[in-house]
């Protein structure tokens, strides 16, 4: 039996708290610098044994958030508390290593994750050497357990190169690699967008299973609202650096409140010829123009936009259990 991950967790507590996170990039040439707020005052919490989705279109800032959590980018403002400790203020290598062991990442394209000239098992052994440091025999046991959790065995991957696996299998192996350290949180950035439709649900089901069996939490970053609805407990919808709506996934996606969420939901191509699109859609200005808007970034396309939306920074409102950043709910 696989041990429960992250042994020192507190029961039923918050695993990670993201508070007022912002990231400003400076873009443009030397003389025409523009401050682009890629992530703007973003806050959310992930509980233990919870799948949390960060959804949005490209350029919404969702990957930037995940990079800041992983420590790959420095935030301009804000705090991240992981199990009560501020990760941005971590100084000692020991603390940092402990954090990296507990928070593991999976990336979008499994074909790019693995070096084609390196046997895949090396990645598993390397992770276990770096973080666990146990001997070969005990290490193999751990790796076997991690592979079993994703439905593979060590014999399946032994002496093989990435080219000998399909995309779905490679993505499973990269999940197994992350599980070797027995983490509490997996950060999965678009883990299924490069995987074929007939194999996609197997990966998504794996997240559910890992959550239910081992109490693992997952931050699932995606643009695909249908799989987000299927797999997650909570969701935050991002648009141009802001979280415009967050709450329980059923609430947010079944009865979307923010006009942007509504438009996004309507724009999904439903796999049902009886529910084709019957309205037309207006397409937006360029990305950068929307980032630079004052007030609500969606005001330029919103059917309900008022003068106030373009002037003031819109605060969050609690409506019916979800949090919505829209003046309609003032």
């Amino acid at each position: 039996m696989f041990p429960v991950f992250g042994g020192d967790r507190r029961m039923n507590g918050k695993l990670i708290e993201v508070n007022g996170l912002s990231k400003v990039f400076r873009v443009g040439s030397l003389f025409s610098r523009i401050r682009l707020t890629a992530v703007d005052n973003v806050s959310f919490d992930i509980n233990e044994a919870e799948i949390y989705t960060l959804a949005g279109e490209s350029g919404s800032g969702k990957t930037t958030v995940s990079k800041i959590i992983l420590g790959l980018l420095e935030p301009s403002e804000g705090k991240i508390l992981y199990k009560g400790k501020d990760t941005t203020a971590m100084k000692s290598e020991k603390e940092k290593k402990e954090f990296r062991k507990d928070v593991q990442a999976i990336f979008q394209n499994p074909f790019e994750t693995f070096n084609p000239l390196r046997m895949v098992e090396n990645y598993l052994y390397e992770t276990q050497r770096n973080f666990i440091g146990a001997g070969e025999k005990e290490g193999s046991e751990r790796i076997e357990q991690a592979l079993n959790a994703v439905g593979l065995t060590l014999d399946d991957v032994k002496d093989k190169y990435p080219g000998e696996f399909s995309g779905g299998q490679l993505q499973r192996i990269s999940i197994a690699r992350a599980l070797v350290t027995q983490p509490s949180l997996l950060i999965a950035d678009e883990p299924v967008s490069m995987v074929d439709a007939s194999l996609r649900m197997a990966i998504v089901n794996l997240f559910k299973e890992l959550k239910e069996k081992y109490g693992l939490s997952v931050l699932y970053i995606t643009h695909d609202l249908a799989t987000a609805y299927y797999v997650s407990d909570k969701i935050a919808i991002m648009f141009r650096g802001n979280i415009v709506e967050k709450g329980n996934v059923e609430k947010v996606l079944e009865e979307p409140k923010h006009p942007y969420t509504r438009m996004l939901k309507e724009s999904i191509a439903q796999p049902d010829p009886r529910s084709k699109w019957n309205t037309r859609v207006d397409l937006h200005l360029t990305e950068r123009e929307e980032y630079l808007l004052k007030g609500c970034k969606f005001a330029g396309r919103c059917p309900h936009a008022m003068d106030a939306c373009r002037k003031e920074n819109v605060p969050d409102f609690e409506v019916d259990g979800t949090t919505v950043k829209c003046l309609l709910y003032r």
């Binding site: 074929d196 007939s198 649900m201 299927y230 999904i268 191509a269 796999p271 084709k276 699109w277």
Partner: protein, 331 residues
């Protein structure tokens, strides 16, 4: 009325490995009948041969790809023309004027160091004589863009100044400016955001309903097929395994693979357990004997291992290649 058909089309990649020839059977014995004024969707996962199929339909066959057997016919006027038996000059005339192609990556179509206007001008010059620049080029292009709802300013932009969705729509405009009878589109919405996808699909539908022509659309996204296609063909490992109207494919899928494919689609409002087909698609270099899906099929019998089922019309307009429905063997 048929506008394009294929007869027992076989397109293989022939790779020379240390003096030994290896065949990748990307399109293996495909028969298609595509009608005028319809949108025909081709669905399947990566590596099933769908892109190879439409490249062959467009006559873009370059080594290592070879058409080893079969024909692709376009109906031009009242006669069928086999595109592999005509000379390259005639093919150049047919291409873009009669049949056009929208590729997947819009960035690689538009010249990055020239304004979009230049690309349009170059494209039109190759097919039409431009005597009076105003009459023969600017006016038709501007009215074409206006009809598609694109701003005229795109002509004076460089490709990098446009967003991905706008670039893809400019590519659609370019491919349709000569009013072709057949438009072949390869994953035109992949890599776009959902809202942009909707914009591109909206545009393709508008083009089709005003020109009354044929669109052959390849995508792996079943949601897009449901929204735009009239008929859908499902490909698996180089073979067409099912073909029916969009409603039939989604409501009454017959082939076990199609059933898995439709059954695994997540939908908002439905939290029931979805599962994928077990295993993964076969290598086209060495596909299984018999039905290519049998190693993953939960209803496979010994017959499936022994012979390849033929694509047969089981119900009016609904064709399936599976021994569950007919015993006909593909020769």
């Amino acid at each position: 009325m048929t506008i394009l058909n294929t007869e027992r089309l076989k397109a293989y990649y022939i790779i020379d490995v240390l003096g030994e020839k290896r065949y990748v059977k990307a399109v293996d014995n495909v028969n298609l009948e595509i009608n005028q004024n319809e949108i025909y969707g081709i669905a399947g996962e990566s590596g099933c041969g769908k892109t190879t199929l439409i490249k062959t339909l467009f006559g873009m066959v370059e080594p290592p790809l070879n058409v080893t057997d079969g024909k692709v016919n376009y109906k031009i006027g009242s006669e069928f023309v086999d595109i592999f038996s005509i000379d390259s000059k005639r093919m150049r005339e047919i291409r873009w004027e009669y049949v056009s192609y929208i590729p997947q990556g819009s960035m690689s179509v538009l010249n990055p160091v020239q304004k979009v206007r230049y690309t349009f001008e170059h494209f039109i010059k190759a097919h039409r004589k431009i005597k009076n620049r105003d009459e023969d080029f600017i006016k038709p292009v501007e009215s074409h863009l206006a009809a598609l709802g694109l701003p005229i300013q795109v002509l004076d932009s460089y490709p990098h100044q446009l967003s991905g969705g706008m670039r893809q729509r400019v590519t659609v405009a370019l491919a349709t400016v000569l009013q072709p009878k057949i438009i072949i589109a390869d994953e035109p919405t992949t890599a776009l955001d959902v809202v942009m996808q909707r914009g591109v699909i909206q545009l393709l539908k508008d083009v089709q309903s005003s020109l009354k022509n044929t669109i052959i659309l390849v995508t792996h996204d079943m949601g897009i097929h449901a929204n735009i296609a009239d008929r859908i063909g499902i490909m698996y490992a180089g073979k067409m395994i099912e073909e029916a109207s969009a409603e039939e494919i989604f409501e009454n899928p017959m082939h076990p693979y199609t059933q898995y494919l439709i059954g695994s689609l997540p939908k908002i409002g439905d939290k029931s357990y979805k599962t994928s087909a077990p295993g993964s698609p076969p290598s086209l270099m060495n596909p299984p004997e018999g039905c290519r899906f049998y190693p993953r099929c939960n209803r496979a019998t010994d017959d499936c291992k022994a012979a390849i089922p033929k694509l047969i019309e089981i119900e009016p307009g609904h064709k399936v290649a599976c021994f569950l429905y007919s015993g006909v063997i593909e020769e």
